[in-house]
């Protein structure tokens, strides 16, 4: 037992020293212009999703997603999200692709997050990504319209698509 304990401690110390040396000598690649390796993407995505699932509000949405709500959310989206997350009917955002991890392109891949989860992510942001906490700038009501819009980005009606492009009155 004593040998096991000493061996374990030695292994942990060796790992810590090795990690510190690796980082301190600058061997960790920090450039953002690479694609995250699959193992990293899978581990990150599943961990972030699990955490958001735990933290997001239990209430699943703001109510009925009327055209009015979706248009309001779409206008917010075009104002603040489109630069990184892509525009409807357009190819993927070149700017969003230059982040590490890259910004998900909602109009190409949709989202696996529920409305309440999208609300939570938009409000609080995701650390260690380019996703900023928008709760600083928008009210909860506004963020609920945004999450209603984003979770339906693949199935928006022509009325909503047209309405969101109209300039504010």
């Amino acid at each position: 037992m004593k040998n096991f304990t000493m061996g374990s401690l030695a292994a942990i110390v060796a790992l810590a020293v090795g990690a510190a040396g690796y980082l301190g000598l600058g061997f960790a690649n920090v450039g953002a212009d690479a694609k995250p390796p699959i193992w990293e993407a899978v581990l990150m995505n599943s961990s972030v999703h699990a955490s958001v699932r735990r933290e997001a509000p239990k209430v699943q949405n703001s109510g009925v997603a009327t055209d009015e709500i979706l248009i309001a959310g779409g206008k917010l989206y075009l104002n603040d999200c489109v630069g990184c997350h892509g525009a409807p009917g357009k190819p993927a955002s070149a700017f969003g692709a230059t982040f590490y991890p890259p910004a998900p392109q909602f109009f190409l891949i949709g989202t696996q997050y529920s409305e309440a989860q999208v609300f939570w992510v938009a409000k609080h942001g995701i650390r260690r990504t380019g996703m900023f906490p928008e709760g600083r700038y928008y009210t909860d009501t506004e963020l609920w319209t945004l999450s209603a819009f984003v979770t339906r980005s693949a199935t928006l009606s022509p009325i909503v698509m047209k309405g969101m492009q109209q300039p504010p009155e």
Partner: protein, 156 residues
């Protein structure tokens, strides 16, 4: 022992116990560790880069114009109060805090970005020559004559 650590970590992550929200302050230990690793890596990668262009007024104004177009939204504008945001995305406010990075290091960061931060890679959008002028500007951001700052704001 190592297997137990690995299993524990994966379980912790999969159960969603890792905090991911960005709107709270970075713990000091995490901030220091990341800074330590990022600075070392940038230093190593930028070591091969030489010959930044001379800091002529022309180059600094060109860099300053790029800065206002692509960087000022997050990193601050000349003569404006800093946007010191609490939380994980708190980009360096150059007009107050300056920078410890050298010109080749700044060039490398702008071109390649820093992963797992909000700093994206600008290599796809700007030429090397443009990025060098930007690095020259950012390095001297707190020692610029007022006439030069006016030149940056002037329309071409």
């Amino acid at each position: 022992m190592i297997a137990a650590l690995a299993c524990g970590s994966v379980g912790y992550l999969r159960l969603g116990l890792a905090e991911v929200r960005a709107d709270m302050n970075t713990p000091t230990w995490e901030g220091q560790l990341v800074k330590f690793a990022v600075q070392a890596s940038v230093r190593r990668n930028a070591a091969e880069l030489h010959n930044p262009p001379p800091p002529t007024d022309e180059n600094l104004i060109a860099g300053g114009k790029l800065y206002l177009g692509g960087c000022a939204g997050c990193h601050g504008k000349p003569g404006k109060p800093p946007d010191n945001l609490p939380g994980y995305l708190s980009p360096r406010q150059f007009f107050q805090a300056g920078t410890q990075y050298s010109e080749p290091e700044l060039f490398w960061i702008v071109k390649h970005g820093i992963r797992n931060t909000g700093m994206s890679a600008y290599g796809p959008f700007y030429s090397d020559q443009q990025i060098w002028t930007l690095a020259a500007f950012v390095k001297r951001v707190n020692n610029l004559p007022p006439t030069l700052l006016e030149g940056i704001r002037a329309k071409r």
